[in-house]
Structure formats: structure tokens, C-alpha cells
């Protein structure tokens, strides 16, 4: 499959943009002594089916913008379009609903919940939905199988190796069949082999039509040829794409 | 302290209160079982032993009532409740006397209507031994005292169901 052509900022309103951010600012502790402007007029867009990287040093605001795109936080001002819907001012209830249906998350520290099994971890995103339990189990089994960790499904997560944990966290991101996968510094705690392995899987998912956005400062990620678009950030601003 | 020990005394004296029925009669009165229902109103009879009445037929069949009132309703209109019997088939009629809670023959007592003593179905024709009718009438505001044979439809208290406002 051919890689989609890179999109530009002007494509905000283009139908192919699955994510479009326009003039987004985020200020923490507004009006107080420790006021912090994490984002300052960020405008960017991501085309449907592409793989984009938010690149920048820590503190550049890439994690914050990822959180805003992923409907976890609301911006202080600006417009955030996800699948053509402005989510910037939605109450939490609706944000969660969109998050649940649209996004899969892969975190820096895997962020698996200890004390419960692999399978339970994977099914967690589905509990608040109305999906019946047997279907949840079927889905979890299918994904575990495709990621080759089915045999460890009843292990507690703390007993897994780093690579297995990583696959579990991918499985969890996929269980709700999201259109977009957001990854926050996914390789920062992985050795080169596992990082390569992860990128390999992400590119395969991208090939299956999923849009992928990765926040990272790891060259191993943004130097990959199949990354369509690199958005460079610094001090809460987009400095290049 | 006094009161408490006094109560202990009360408790220590246990005595049989309810007397069983023992009267030699033609057809001995029966004891209602937990299944016997009043044919007039459908209520179970056994929880109200101090009110129950009974009609025993010559063939040994019988009917229990939750009080004299329903017994009279039945007695004065047998075909309505029991097509196979007439008053000629009756062997004995018993009611429970108010003061003694003893089962007595219905023609040996007096029925007082209009009193403030309520049976399980409200107003009743209370069965009283003849010698105590006066006491009862004055104590409980009785209105009319009737012998068994004098009771007519008009004397049966309405119950509380049908009075028209």
C-alpha cells in the first residue's frame, strides 16, 4: 500500500483531516502566580489514515496537545475538530464518549493496572460501555491472539516481560477498535529492539487504515520512512511541519 | 426494683387460662381447623375462636362462621349458600358466648345488637348468657336483645361495607 501524501496546514477544512486543531491555547493555573502557558495558538491537522509525529523536547507542549486531541483535557481557547466535530467545549460526559469510540492510547509507562490479569486489563476500556460481557471476552481473546500473548492471558501484568507489557498495552489500545491511535513517548522506556518492534506494529496498524499520532523526541521514531508528517513543537508553539 | 420483682412473681405463677369445651350434647360442637372458612364471607375462622359459630347438619356436614352475624345470614337464607340443605336438616347450632368464651347452643343464649363490642367483621350480634344480658347492655351500649328465634334479617348489622353515604 502506498503511503498517503503529506497534508499541510491549509488542509484544516479538507475532508481528509480527521484531526484539526486551530489556534489552541492551554493555560494552567490561570491568574495565579504559577500561571503556565503550555500551548500558545497551536494550529495543526492530521489526515485520516496518516501517521504523524509530534516532535519536540520535553516541555514543548506535545503531550498537552496530545491530551487535548485525545479528548482528555479541554483547551483554554481555540477549536479542536475530531472527525468534523468541535470538541473544545464539550462537557466531560461527551468528551469521554468520543474518546471511548475514537481513540486508543499507548502510554510511556505502559500504564497497566497491577493486581489484575492481562485479559482484564485489556477489557477495562469496555466496562463502561453497553457491550455484553461475552462479546468483551471474545474481542479480548481475538486481539490477544493477534498479538501473540494469548497464552499469557491469565497472568497478572506484573509478571510479564517488558515486551509483553508493551503488547498488552497495544492490545488495550485496540480493544475498542479505534480510528485513531495516540502514543505518548512510546519508546522512551524500551530498548532498541522493542522500539523497532513497536514501530513495526504501529506501521502495520497504519497500513490497516488507522490514523496514528505519536508524541516523541526519539529519532528512532520520527526518522522512520513511513512517518507521513512531522510536526515540530517548542515552547507550546508549532515551529515547523 | 419493687415493680421488677413483682413482675417476676407474676411470671412465676402460670396458670391455664383457656378452658376446653366439654358439654354433653346431641352433636358435640366441633373445633375449627386452620382450613375452615366462613361460607358467607370467605374468611378463615380459626384465628377468631372467641367469636366462631357453627351449624352442624344431621348428616354430619357442618359450616363454621367467623361470628354470629354471618351464621344468621346463612341460617336465614340457607339456599343461597348451600343448595342441598334446608333448615330441617340442621342438627345443632352453636355460638361462642362472650363472657366465658365457651361454645354454647344458640337457642340457649341471647343476642345483643348495636353494642360497642366489635367482632372480626365489625358490628355483631353478641351472644350473651341470659343472666348477663343486662350487664352487657349497660356496659357496652347494647341496643336490642333477641332470642335466637327472634332474630330476623333486619336485625343483622350491616357490616361496614354497604352503608350508603
Amino acid at each position: 500500500m502506498a503511503y498517503p501524501t503529506p497534508t499541510t496546514i491549509t488542509a484544516i477544512t479538507a475532508p481528509s483531516a480527521i484531526i484539526a486543531v486551530e489556534g489552541v491555547s492551554k493555560i494552567f493555573n490561570a491568574g495565579e502566580a504559577d500561571e503556565m502557558r503550555a500551548l500558545d495558538g497551536v494550529t495543526l491537522s492530521v489526515a485520516k489514515g496518516s501517521m504523524a509525529v509530534l516532535k519536540g523536547p520535553s516541555g514543548s507542549g506535545k503531550t498537552t496537545i496530545l491530551g487535548i486531541i485525545g479528548c482528555m483535557t479541554r483547551p483554554t481557547s481555540g477549536k479542536v475538530m475530531v472527525n468534523g466535530k468541535d470538541v473544545a467545549k464539550l462537557p466531560e460526559h461527551f468528551l469521554t464518549d468520543i474518546r471511548r469510540r475514537t481513540f486508543g492510547f499507548i502510554f510511556q509507562h505502559f500504564n497497566l493496572i497491577k493486581g489484575i490479569t492481562v485479559k482484564e486489563n485489556i477489557m477495562l476500556p469496555l466496562y463502561p460501555t453497553s457491550i455484553p460481557i461475552h462479546e468483551m471476552k471474545e474481542r479480548a481473546d481475538a486481539i490477544l491472539e493477534s498479538l501473540n500473548i494469548y497464552q499469557k492471558r491469565n497472568y497478572h501484568v506484573e509478571k510479564l516481560s517488558g515486551g509483553e507489557k508493551q503488547r498488552v498495552s497495544i492490545a488495550r489500545a485496540l480493544i475498542n477498535n479505534p480510528e485513531i491511535i495516540l502514543a505518548d513517548e512510546p519508546t522512551s522506556h524500551l530498548d532498541t529492539k522493542l522500539s523497532e518492534d513497536l514501530m513495526d506494529r504501529l506501521s502495520r496498524l497504519n497500513g490497516e487504515g488507522k490514523t496514528i499520532v505519536i508524541a516523541t523526541h526519539d529519532p528512532l521514531v520520527y526518522d522512520k520512512p513511513y512517518v507521513n508528517r512531522i510536526i515540530e513543537m517548542r515552547d507550546g508553539k508549532v515551529i515547523g511541519t | 426494683m419493687r415493680r421488677k420483682s413483682f413482675v417476676l412473681i407474676v411470671l412465676s405463677i402460670v396458670s391455664a387460662v383457656f378452658l376446653s369445651v366439654s358439654m354433653a350434647l346431641a352433636a358435640d360442637p366441633l373445633k375449627p381447623t386452620s382450613k375452615d372458612k366462613c361460607p358467607v364471607c370467605g374468611m378463615l375462622v380459626h384465628p377468631y375462636t372467641q367469636w366462631s359459630a357453627q351449624i352442624i347438619f344431621k348428616d354430619g356436614t357442618y359450616a363454621f362462621f367467623d361470628g354470629p352475624k354471618d351464621m344468621f345470614k346463612y341460617y336465614l337464607d340457607i339456599p343461597k349458600y348451600n343448595k342441598s340443605k334446608t333448615s330441617a336438616d340442621i342438627s345443632d347450632i352453636y355460638v361462642t358466648e362472650y363472657y366465658s368464651t365457651k361454645v354454647m347452643k344458640a337457642d340457649g343464649v341471647t343476642f345483643v345488637s348495636g353494642s360497642d363490642v366489635m367482632g372480626p367483621m365489625g358490628k355483631e350480634l353478641v351472644a350473651i348468657t341470659n343472666d348477663k344480658v343486662k350487664t352487657f347492655t349497660s356496659d357496652h351500649k347494647g341496643v336490642k336483645a333477641l332470642k335466637f328465634s327472634e332474630v330476623t334479617d333486619a336485625d343483622i348489622p350491616d357490616g361496614h361495607m354497604h352503608h350508603m353515604k
Binding site: T73, H93, D97, P125 | S5, I9, V10, L11, S12, Y99
Partner: protein, 358 residues
């Protein structure tokens, strides 16, 4: 959670104890006479002429009247107070041996037997002064099952008792009146008062009510004392729920990030609270059951009972009432749940992006 169970166990023990004491007493009251007539003099209970019985018997509805003879005896030897009573037609069963059949014999309660170190066929000597004294052969001892009623009892022949207390001729302590039809009791009581204005008729339902009240009051008092600890516990629960560990915070952050909403976390917290409180509630109730019904409420029966000089040993009949359980549930589970609302909410509003910002 352990403290919680202990608190529930304490409360439940209290209620079980009062409840079964009450039940035991009430079971006996059921057989008590419908009406007791006492004579009052200067506002105090006085002896009653036996002659009153005749007129009372003539009241319609009265089936029998019996005089009773009884009194209290303070025993210098043991410092105990006994209740002496003349044998009536059918006194209590539950006796080892027999009841006294004539003068010079007696049956005694377990408590009396224990403090006087008396066994069957021993002699019980009672004395008020050199003129009023009596030696009785013990022919029966009441069994422990009936202790609540018979512990301090000495049952003897009527003549022995009359002589011992030097009661005037033709006077009794009180009269018991049996009534065939319970609905007539108020009318009869009224007539007795009319005929003998110096008497006080006491109906069985009055006694039952008084006792019901005493038991509720005792239980209620004891419960009130426990409101303090309960409150302290609620604050403790609050505190514990508020101090969320970093790990817990992280977990809730993860849940929210992967698609849980505040409401979902609140639900989770609710069920968590439910699980904790129900488990503690069940454990506590079972502990209380064992404590009260297998160990005779050994830990605090004295507080609750302590009403008799000769303290009756307590072998409660296992008796559980759904209502009691509901009351305990209300007193323990509900304050707990209420105290977890705000801490749960604080946890639930954790920002989903905390997991990325750490």
C-alpha cells in the same frame, strides 16, 4: 475494615442481646394472668383483703380469682435479696426435684442455690428476727433455663410464708384475676376500680408495654453510647478514603484515560464501598451472633442486665429478627457509605491526562 467489623459486632451484640432478653421475657408474659389486683395505701402497694375476691369473681367475664402471697427477704448472710412466694396451684415447671408439697419444704432458684451452697435435700434457713424464722428442706431447684424468672426465687408453702412474714389473717399480697375473654379485660378492670377504689388493677398488656419500654430504653441508651465511636469511625473512613495513594491516583487516571467517565469511577467506588461495608456488616453480625448466643454475651451482659441483685446467668435463645438486621444495617452501612461520597468524588474527578503528565 477490622475496626468496622468490630463496631458492627458490638452494635449487633447489643441489639441481639436486648432482643432476645425481650423475647424471653415476653414468652413468659404470654402466660401471665390477664389482670393483677393490688391494693394501694398512701400510694404504696399494700396487702389486700382476701374477701375482695368474692365480689370480683361475681363480675361477668371473670373466670377465677386467686390470692397470692409473696414478699422480699434480704439475706444478711449473702447480701442478696430473695423473692419468697407461696406455692400456687400450678407454679413453674423447669424444676429439678419437685415443688414443695407441704409445710417445711421449698424449691429455690439456681441463684439462691449457688450463693447459699445449697443442694437438693439440704436445709435452707431464713430468719428476720428470733420470732420470724423458718427452716425449709430444699426439695426442688429451678433449672438454669428459667433463670431470668426464677433465679432469686424461694417457693414455699403458703402457711410457712404467712407465718414467716407474719401476715395478718385474711390478707394476701395481691389477687390474680383470670378473664376468659381478653376483650372484656378493660371493662372488668374498670369495675374493680369502681367497686374497690383503693385497688389498682394492672392488665397484662400494661406489663408487656412497660417491659417493652424498659428493654427499648436500655438498648437505646447503649446504642446512644455507641454513636460516638460510630462517628469517630465515619471520620476515620472519610480520612482513609481521602488519603489516596499515588498508585491509586495513577490507576484512576489510567481508567479515565482509557475511556472511563467520572460517573463510572463513582460507580466503581460505590460498589467498592458496598463490598467493604457489607463484608464488615456480615462479619460483624456473625461475630455478634456467636458472642451473644454461644458465649452468652459474656463481654457486656452486665451493663445491660444488672437489674437483679442475684444476677441471673444468661442463656439466650437464638432469635434473630430481620428488622433488627435492617436497623443495624442502617446504623452502620449508611453512615459509612455517606462518609465515602466526597472522597470517592475527589478520586473520580482525577484528570485523565494525569497519566501522561507524570
Amino acid at each position: 475494615m477490622f475496626i468496622y467489623s468490630i463496631i458492627v459486632a458490638t452494635l449487633t451484640s447489643l441489639l441481639f442481646l436486648t432482643q432476645s432478653l425481650k423475647k424471653e421475657a415476653m414468652d413468659v408474659f404470654i402466660e401471665a394472668p390477664e389482670l393483677i389486683v393490688q391494693r394501694m395505701s398512701a400510694g404504696r402497694h399494700d396487702l389486700i383483703p382476701v374477701g375482695y375476691a368474692e365480689k370480683i369473681l361475681s363480675i361477668p367475664g371473670v373466670s377465677s380469682v386467686e390470692p397470692r402471697y409473696w414478699g422480699y427477704y434480704y439475706d444478711n448472710l449473702t447480701g442478696g435479696n430473695y423473692t419468697l412466694i407461696a406455692r400456687n396451684i400450678d407454679a413453674l415447671h423447669m424444676v429439678k426435684g419437685t415443688l414443695p408439697k407441704g409445710p417445711g419444704e421449698c424449691a429455690i432458684g439456681k441463684g439462691v442455690a449457688d450463693v447459699r451452697l445449697t443442694d437438693l435435700n439440704d436445709v435452707l434457713f431464713l430468719s428476720i428476727n428470733p420470732q420470724q424464722k423458718v427452716s425449709l428442706k430444699v426439695v426442688g431447684i429451678f433449672t438454669a433455663d428459667s433463670a431470668i424468672l426464677t433465679n432469686d426465687l424461694v417457693v414455699m408453702d403458703k402457711n410457712d410464708l404467712v407465718n414467716f412474714f407474719a401476715l395478718p389473717k385474711d390478707m394476701a399480697t395481691d389477687l390474680i384475676v383470670h378473664v376468659s375473654n381478653a376483650s372484656e379485660v378493660p371493662t372488668i378492670a374498670m369495675k374493680i376500680r369502681r367497686d374497690y377504689p383503693d385497688t389498682r388493677p394492672i392488665t397484662r398488656s400494661e406489663i408487656v408495654r412497660t417491659y417493652e419500654n424498659v428493654f427499648n430504653w436500655r438498648g437505646g441508651m447503649a446504642l446512644t453510647m455507641f454513636i460516638g465511636p460510630l462517628l469517630a469511625f465515619a471520620i476515620f473512613a472519610w480520612d482513609k478514603a481521602t488519603g489516596m495513594s499515588a498508585g491509586e491516583r495513577q490507576e484512576i487516571g489510567i481508567l479515565k484515560a482509557i475511556g472511563w467517565e467520572t460517573t463510572d469511577v463513582l460507580k466503581l467506588k460505590f460498589w467498592e464501598g458496598m463490598a467493604i461495608s457489607l463484608t464488615s456488616f456480615l462479619t460483624g453480625s456473625i461475630l455478634a451472633y456467636i458472642h451473644v448466643f454461644y458465649f452468652g454475651a459474656a463481654l457486656f451482659a452486665p451493663v445491660l442486665k444488672g437489674w437483679s441483685v442475684l444476677f441471673p446467668p444468661f442463656n439466650p435463645i437464638p432469635y434473630i429478627d430481620l428488622y433488627q438486621i435492617f436497623v443495624i444495617f442502617f446504623l452502620t452501612v449508611i453512615p459509612y457509605l455517606a462518609s465515602t461520597i466526597i472522597p470517592s468524588w475527589k478520586a473520580a474527578v482525577t484528570d485523565p491526562d494525569t497519566v501522561m503528565r507524570s
